[in-house]
């Protein structure tokens, strides 16, 4: 394999691993603020229990997000020097503003948010939670501005092959930015909704009957049910925006190789195996006219076909079709599963009553719904990765659309060197992803069984340690969680 492909795989692996964690922290920060505000308003301790459990998940996710993010700021230089050399005058200030306004804000108040509850006044702790949530969102804003600019560059001119900024408002509010930002923020919200619902359902199945778990399960299910239709709407708008600015990407997403006869419109290809050799789809299952309806909001509107992006001399300027086509379908299918599950759960909770006749009781949920929530706990990750693969592979062969190709930006580092670091990164990422998921499950288990986790100061009590290292006690169904 050559340096270009290895460098792409390496950056793809890094950024895929990285995005898992900001996706959680962006929305989880706001959710924690909500829990804290509910506690401040009602004085009900279940909200503080919810805060304490989820702030641990936040801390862990945040640490993973930080360290994997640092990796990328260095890889711009080690593997993609052409990127900053060409578009540094635009990318530089955007990245600098992310560090200056967002990173320091998050990092500065994270300590108070995590460990300051009994050290600072209540309002300052709430305020610190707000600032951390605000910081993560601000960070998402700047990075999505830059990413959107790479898809739909605006507000610049080329002088001697180097990009110079001419209008910062046009750069920041470039054509795809509002859609992409909203789409990603909602994706983060959905990821967190299903994570919270999934882990809470897991605790319920472990036998946790605490009120805090019931509250978070209900919260997650409702949050998912509310956000998913909004996300479908925003996703549709984002797609139409992409059709306007990057039609080749949409053609690849739809598997639309060649134009249909006049009046036939564009079908919606439900499933197919795109074949780059024959430039056609194998085993195609399609619904006539539906593609036109979704993309052009008209019965027989047309969109550019992939064949229109092949030059006379055979040069292909559209992205590879199969990965874009498949990942788009995985994203949509995951979204549909989210819609189905969250609406089913909400409908069940709204119609049935719990054992004591309480409305909106999670006791009204049958076991299979709980299992489904557990299975879907990380569905947000699947959808987010699939969505990003769609848009980023869909941008190829460009790195910055119409300005710089990916091949032009790569560093001439020997391929074996890239391969060796790639293997090291992959090994680390595989272990850490596994450890992260295992620890999520362990945290749920430990909270259910009232196990005091070691604090950072450690459980100094030697008896407790002995118990901990000895055989685990059998699960006690119906055990409640004492306040930590």
């Amino acid at each position: 394999m050559d340096t270009l492909l290895l460098s792409r795989i390496q950056f793809g692996a890094n950024i895929s691993f990285h995005i898992l964690f900001p996706t959680i922290t962006i929305a989880l920060g706001w959710v924690l603020l909500w829990f804290k505000l509910r506690y401040n308003a009602t004085g009900d301790f279940k909200w503080m229990e919810a805060y304490r459990f989820w702030v641990k998940v936040f801390a862990l996710s945040f640490a993973l997000g930080v360290v994997s993010g640092i990796t990328m700021s260095f890889q711009f230089g080690t593997n993609w020097p052409g990127f900053m050399e060409t578009v540094g005058n635009v990318a530089g200030p955007l990245l600098a503003y992310e560090v200056l306004t967002a990173f320091f804000l998050e990092a500065g108040f994270l300590g108070i948010m995590l460990f300051g509850f009994s050290r600072v006044p209540g309002w300052l702790h709430t305020f610190a939670t707000f600032l951390v949530a605000f910081g993560t969102t601000l960070s998402a804003f700047w990075i999505l501005v830059l990413n959107s600019w790479m898809h739909t560059p605006a507000g610049f001119e080329l002088r001697d092959g180097v990009v110079h900024a001419t209008d910062w408002l046009e750069i920041i509010f470039n054509p795809s930015m509002p859609y992409r930002l909203l789409h990603m923020l909602l994706a983060s919200g959905l990821t967190v909704a299903f994570l919270i619902a999934g882990i809470s359902a897991l605790r319920l199945l472990f036998g946790d009957r605490s009120r805090s778990v019931a509250a978070t399960l209900r919260f997650g299910a409702v949050m998912g049910a509310v956000l998913i239709p909004v996300q479908i709407l925003v996703g549709d708008m984002h797609g139409i925006n992409t059709l306007e600015h990057q039609p080749a990407k949409v053609a690849a997403m739809e598997g639309h190789w060649e134009q249909y006869p006049e009046g036939e419109g564009v079908p919606l290809v439900l499933f197919a195996l795109p074949n780059a050799e024959t430039r056609d789809n194998d085993y195609e299952v399609k619904i006539p006219h539906l593609g036109s309806l979704v993309l052009t909001h008209s019965w027989d509107g047309t969109i550019p076909a992939l064949d229109e992006f092949v030059a006379e001399d055979g040069t292909v300027t559209h992205p590879p079709v199969a990965p874009v086509f498949y990942s788009f379908r995985i994203m949509v299918a995951t979204g549909m599963a989210m819609l189905l599950l969250s609406w089913t759960a909400v409908a069940l909770m709204a119609r049935r009553r719990g054992p004591e006749g309480a409305r909106w009781s999670v006791e009204a949920l049958p076991r299979w719904v709980l299992y489904a929530f557990v299975a879907m706990a990380l569905s947000g990750w699947v959808a987010v990765l699939a969505g990003w693969y769609t848009t980023e592979i869909g941008r190829q062969p460009w790195l910055v659309h119409g300005v710089l190709t990916t091949a032009q930006a790569v560093a001439e580092v020997p391929a074996p060197m890239v391969l060796s670091t790639l293997i090291a990164y992959l090994a680390v990422y595989a272990v850490l992803t596994g450890a992260y998921v295992a620890v999520l499950i362990y945290l749920a288990w430990a909270a259910t069984h009232g196990k005091p986790l070691p604090t950072r100061g450690g459980t100094a009590d030697p008896v407790e340690r002995a118990v901990e290292t000895a055989a685990r006690p059998a699960a006690r169904p119906g055990a409640t969680t004492p306040a930590e």
Partner: protein, 337 residues
């Protein structure tokens, strides 16, 4: 001076080189003590390890952000240099990144994973700190040697790798003297006493090697009258080392007086060493190849960043101080409640 101020293509690169240097210096001192604490892990028992982590827990993330700031400034202000330096240091950068990842996640995993894995994450914490320190020291050596990979420069870099690691351990121990009490503080004093020799040898080796490698640096230091107004640098360093020596002999003291003297002196030494290096390399950002003026981004882009930096920097300073005030005093167990 006046003509520099009149031309943004001159004073903007200078300003950004200054900001980048400041970020590197703050990073080296602040994350230096975090990394040092990790390096000292194998010498501590389990309860001490928890207390050591507690002493840096609320700060490490913000400290590490200065590295992002430094490399970010290199990236945005001197993009050509960013590419040249980082491709030349490809492997040590990768090692450092793996180290930073291990160190950062071990903080969290060691207290959230089941207890039987804690030892493993403690080792990851040490290993991550060691990989990070060694690779940073190695990169420092390569940078001094002009990013030129020969067996002699690699050997020199291996030496600086060890010395920077010792330097970090020293400042880590000095931090622990201030943040802990009792038996752990006694141990920290011992560690700091051991580290002082490494500090002396390290600063000495770099001071001797840099002018020998580069005739230009030799010229800058050993010509008249430069040598006269540079003389406070070595004299102050010697004074700080003596003060350190004295403080470490007296510590631990009954009323904890002077517990922050080693950390202050250590920071002073890092600052002096840094200014010495900055003086040696100015105006080059890639040694002997590329000056800050040649490598700088377009003035209009730098201007945009500078405006932001001027507005935001005081705020960053304010909440950094707030965090250190909230978590002042001797380290106690960190709890979420």
């Amino acid at each position: 001076m006046a003509e520099i101020l009149a031309d943004p293509a001159l004073w903007l690169p200078l300003t950004f080189a200054g900001l980048m240097g400041l970020s590197i210096l703050i990073y080296v001192v602040l994350d230096g003590f975090d990394l040092g604490v990790g390096l000292l892990f194998p010498f501590a028992d389990e309860a001490e390890k928890d207390r050591m982590v507690a002493s840096i827990g609320p700060f490490w993330d913000a400290n590490e952000t200065w590295l992002v700031m430094a490399v970010g400034l290199l990236l945005v202000a001197f993009p050509v240099a960013h590419g040249a330096i980082l491709t030349a240091l490809y492997l040590p950068v990768a090692v450092m990144l793996v180290g930073l990842i291990l160190r950062g996640v071990a903080f969290e995993f060691r207290v959230k994973a089941p207890l039987r894995y804690k030892r493993g994450w403690d080792f990851a914490f040490f290993l991550g700190s060691a990989l990070t320190s060694l690779s940073q020291g190695f990169m420092l050596g390569m940078y001094i040697m002009g990013l030129d990979a020969t067996s002699a420069t690699l050997a020199f870099s291996a030496v600086t790798a060890v010395f920077l690691t010792v330097g970090y351990s020293f400042i880590g121990a000095a931090w622990l003297i201030g943040k802990t009490e009792g038996a752990l503080q006694d141990k920290a004093v011992e560690w700091a006493r051991g580290g002082i020799w490494g500090l002396l040898l390290g600063i000495g080796a770099i001071s001797v090697a840099s002018p020998l490698v580069s005739p230009r640096i030799f010229e800058r230091w050993f010509s008249w009258p430069e040598i006269l107004w540079l003389s406070p640098l070595p004299i102050l360093s010697a004074a700080l080392l003596l003060a350190l020596w004295g403080a470490l002999r007296r510590l631990p003291s009954a009323d904890d007086r002077g517990a922050w003297v080693p950390f202050s002196c250590g920071t002073g030494l890092f600052v002096l060493a840094f200014f010495g290096m900055a003086y040696s390399f100015y105006p080059y950002v890639v040694p002997e190849q590329l000056t800050i003026f040649e490598a700088a981004s377009a003035p209009e882009s730098l201007m945009i960043i500078l405006v932001g930096a001027i507005v935001v920097m005081p705020m960053i300073a304010a909440y950094t101080v707030l965090a250190y005030v909230v978590f002042r005093g001797k380290a106690t167990d960190l709890r979420y409640d």
